[in-house]
């Protein structure tokens, strides 16, 4: 892995080379990573994989014409060639009258807990041992459970960003993870795949908790029951609402979509757009968050941004380009696709505030309803209209206050803004996913179509 100081040196070299070559503004982001992972296939370790590499993305402007380039070779010769490609692109592209400036220097806050020496020193044998332990624990967690895929991994990375306005920052980070995807055969076929994971910035992974959750879900999946079409009360687990929101609500809070007329809630700041029970924050500095970092991919400090507060829409998410165009300030949400050169707007860790009661208490009050653990097809939603039509899978039937079994082929459809207004309870215990932290929520009057 290339050290922060060396990456900063390369970035500075890119800025000076770009300016000398005729660019009027230049920025560079360099990232170096070392990833180690083990794969499980059919309850055995199949492979140990290592990915070592450096990625350098360059974006520059000649006046208001933009060009970008990428290289995976961290040498002065290579980045000089890449600057040449970006200059050539900028010379022939069209002018962007709306472009104002790259980010200006700002102060960064110190964020603790981004780096762990233990992760950085992990060797393949240790990762194999961790995965071996996972296989043993899963094997005895539930009769008939088959560990289809999963494993563990660690990753360390360094990154540096500089631009011609004087922004210069670097940081390093580590993550570790465990993942278990399991199922069981049933009399009529197979259960759906149940997936759970744990992601940390240190090595304090909760294997026991993860294995228990998978076993509990697979146990319920073994009992197949039939659902009933109609409007019903539905509990959404974060694994279900994260992708559903991700393809409907979240695109509508992205500043670029707001500016381009692609957001249905573009003119709703200050208006109530959901049940007052819902408070949603994008928190780029939350301790332990997988996406938590000092700066975004344009060197802008990460921050905490209130999106929905007690049902009222408070803010959208911005990067520098769109914030400049719309006369607001970047919220530190720029994400750069290193190889493609596209800088767009992406949330960090989305946090939903907890409610008062445990989900078990809410379930006891439901006579007939559904608990959706995960979904199929969230990516086929219409982000502009907010319409979605997905399959809840695994999905469980609740009758007389109890979860009684899994339903195959349960369709859930509607419009995301109707769902937001139909939230009647948010559970107490937050569940941590890769980019979401939030409890289950309960929504009423949700369209359910059950397979006949």
């Amino acid at each position: 892995m290339v050290k922060e100081k060396e990456l900063l040196g390369l970035c500075s070299y890119i800025i000076s080379t770009g300016l000398k070559a005729g660019a009027t503004a230049v920025e560079a982001l360099a990232q170096s990573q070392n990833e180690l992972e083990t794969d499980i296939e059919l309850s055995e370790i199949s492979s140990v994989n290592q990915k070592i590499g450096t990625e350098i993305a360059i974006r520059l402007y000649i006046g208001k014409r933009m060009g970008s380039a990428f290289t995976n070779i961290p040498t002065k010769d290579s980045v000089r060639d890449a600057v040449g490609l970006a200059i050539s692109a900028a010379k022939v592209t069209t002018e962007d009258a709306d472009w104002i400036s790259l980010p200006q220097p700002q102060a960064y806050t110190t964020i603790e807990g981004l780096w762990d020496d233990g992760i950085a020193k992990t060797n393949p044998s240790e990762v194999v041992d961790l995965t071996g332990k996972l296989i043993s624990k899963a094997a005895t967690s539930e009769p008939g459970l088959v560990l289809i895929r999963g494993g563990s991994g660690t990753s360390s990375h360094t990154s540096a960003y500089t631009n011609s306005n004087g922004v210069s920052c670097s940081e390093r980070g580590t993550t570790s993870y465990l993942v278990e995807a399991a199922m069981a055969q049933t009399e009529s076929g197979a259960t759906p795949l149940v997936v759970e994971y744990d992601v940390r910035r240190d090595l304090s992974l909760d294997m026991e908790g993860m294995v228990k959750r998978v076993a509990d879900w697979v146990r319920i999946c073994k009992t197949k029951v039939n659902g009933r079409s109609g409007k019903h009360t539905v509990i959404f687990h974060p694994q279900a609402y994260a992708p559903l929101f991700g393809y409907t609500l979240i695109p509508s809070i992205r500043g670029d979509n707001v500016a381009r007329g692609k957001s249905k809630i573009a003119d709703k700041i200050g208006d109530t757009i959901s049940s007052e029970l819902l408070t949603l924050v994008d928190n780029g500095i939350i301790p332990g968050g997988a996406a938590t970092s000092k700066a975004d991919d344009e060197g802008v400090p990460r921050q905490k941004t209130s999106i929905i507060e007690k049902g009222i829409l408070r803010s959208f998410l911005w990067d520098t380009y769109w914030a400049n165009k719309m006369g607001v300030k970047s919220t530190g949400n720029a994400r750069r696709n290193m190889r493609q050169g596209l800088v767009d707007i992406s949330p960090t860790t989305l946090v939903i505030d907890s409610g008062a009661r445990e989900i078990e208490e809410a379930i006891t009050e439901i006579d007939h309803g559904y608990y959706i653990l995960n979904v199929q097809g969230a990516h086929s939603s219409n982000p502009e209209s907010g319409d979605f039509s997905i399959v809840g899978n695994p999905a469980f039937l609740i009758e007389n206050g109890k979860i009684i079994g899994a339903v195959d082929g349960l369709m859930v459809s509607g419009n995301i803004y109707e769902v937001l207004n139909n939230i009647v309870e948010i559970a107490k215990k937050p569940i941590k996913l890769f980019s979401w932290i939030g409890p289950e929520f309960v929504a009423k009057n949700i369209d359910i179509t059950a397979k006949e």
Binding site: N49, Q50, M183, L342, E452
Partner: protein, 462 residues
């Protein structure tokens, strides 16, 4: 590059691996994104890297790096990691025996995308933007993505395989948004070739053809009526039935998934209505996703997944072919040197049937004709979902009003028995990107196929 890779294999021979495979890659890759006529990204890059996979003591070690100077170290690291992984294995991984091929494959794009001027590419996107905007005054935003690549990939194995083949991609995806009153909607379209150069955008996927395709779908989204929820008879057109072949059945026939899916143990059994055949055709050269060899050096083949309603064959790589005693089908594919090869589809289709178009629609009092998709997803319990962005009501066997977004779902093992008619009319193929931890370009298709009530569930408005 072949010599460098061969040399590294030779140096790794005494490290104790039973098999070493090195895949190298070098080439030109480009991405352009245009948003409302503004160039939002324009990146050209020269990408180079290697993937090293070693089988030692019955387990895999895999190393990927962009730094060719680390090649020898990568080989020894891959062997060491395989040995570390092997300590825990009860059953060692074995590979099916295959012939080691030496081959150099050439392609002949008329216009290699790396030599097409950027100005021409931007003009293509500008023209498409104009076509979409001119189609309907309600269009509010247009995003166009273009990806091209042109390069060479190399495969060398310790068993003597030595294959050099071209990598080529010319791809576009427009996304159009529109507004009518307070109603917002959007539509997408996608087309690509892995066989032709930029001439594909002149000859077939012109800005007018692709722009009109997406604008027409957006118009229907804005004009359409909501679909009903429930269970209806329906006809799936080529773009949807192809996606269904891929999502509902193709994934279940991937040997690494089949072993525990609802298809487990059903080889040789009837799994569909009479007259239903489905194929993953790895030798239909020119189709997106099809290549002469897979990324383990195994020749691609035509896999008859369902033949005359019987589950006949599965898709394999060398590891799973040995594990389940099945022939190697040449379906091991890797997105790039950053990933190991895994079992993937290529060109997955339902075969033609015997019914005329009239017979397929005949007698449907009320149902839907689903003609274009917006993504789909499969699960191990055979549950499939396909998002539909273009569909029409069928009323008394005739096509009626267009309907807005909906999705269809079913349990594949049940739905296949509900097929009532398969058209004999030839069909166009569509192009998709399949995600199974890594991206693979695939094609799919099939004739109009009719499902009786109960085969497909519609998630519309109740």
């Amino acid at each position: 590059m072949l010599d460098i890779l061969e040399h590294a294999i030779d140096k790794g021979r005494n490290l104790g691996a039973t098999y070493i495979e090195i895949r190298g890659e070098s080439g030109f890759v480009e991405y352009i994104q245009m948003e409302d006529s503004r160039v939002a990204a324009l990146t050209q890059r020269l990408e180079r890297g290697v993937a090293i996979r070693a089988l030692a003591d019955g387990a895999w070690g895999f190393v990927t790096t962009g730094n060719l100077e680390l090649l020898d170290k990568g080989v020894s690291d891959a062997v060491a990691m395989a040995k570390a992984a092997a300590r825990s294995r009860k059953e060692p991984i074995k590979l099916a025996e295959v012939r080691a091929y030496e081959d150099v494959i050439k392609n002949k794009p008329k216009r290699d995308p790396r030599h097409v001027p950027i100005e021409e590419k931007i003009e293509y996107m500008n023209q498409m933007t104009k076509t979409i905007r001119d189609y309907d005054p309600r269009v509010t935003a247009v995003t166009i993505k273009v990806r091209t690549s042109s390069g060479t990939k190399y495969l060398v194995t310790s068993e003597g395989a030595k294959i050099q083949s071209p990598t080529l991609l010319v791809w576009t995806l427009p996304w159009a948004s529109g507004k009518d009153g307070i109603r917002l909607s959007a539509a997408r379209y996608e087309d690509a070739t892995t066989d032709e150069g930029w001439e594909f955008f002149e000859r077939i996927a012109s800005p007018e053809v692709i722009g009109t395709a997406v604008a027409k779908r957006l118009k229907q989204q804005l004009d359409g009526v909501a679909a009903k929820s429930g269970v209806f008879p329906c006809v799936c057109g080529p773009r949807v039935i192809g996606t269904l072949a891929h999502e509902a059945l193709g994934h279940l026939a991937e040997a690494d998934i089949t072993m525990n899916s609802s298809f487990a143990g059903k080889l040789g059994q009837v799994v569909a209505s009479e007259g239903v055949s489905m194929t993953d055709n790895g030798i239909d050269m020119g189709r997106v996703g099809v290549s002469k060899y897979d990324d383990e050096g195994v020749p691609a083949s035509r896999v008859e997944i369902i033949k005359d309603s019987v589950l006949t064959e599965l898709l394999t790589n060398r590891e799973y072919a040995a594990k389940i005693n099945h022939r190697t089908t040449g379906n091991a594919r890797a997105e790039s040197y950053l990933f190991p090869p895994i079992i993937r589809m290529r060109s997955t289709i339902f075969e033609l049937g015997e019914h005329s178009r009239e017979e397929v629609f005949e007698g449907i009092k009320f149902g839907y004709y689903c003609t274009d998709f917006r993504g789909g997803q499969a699960q191990t319990n055979a549950s499939f979902q396909v998002g539909i962005q273009e569909a029409y009501e069928i009323v008394n066997g005739e096509l009626g009003r267009p309907v807005t977004d909906l999705s269809i779902s079913g349990i594949a093992t049940d739905s296949l028995y509900k097929i009532e008619a398969v058209s004999k009319e030839p069909f166009p193929y569509d192009v998709g990107r399949c995600g199974k931890g890594q991206e693979a370009f695939v094609s799919s298709g099939g004739p109009d196929i009719r499902f009786g009530a109960g085969g497909i569930t519609f998630g519309g408005k109740s």
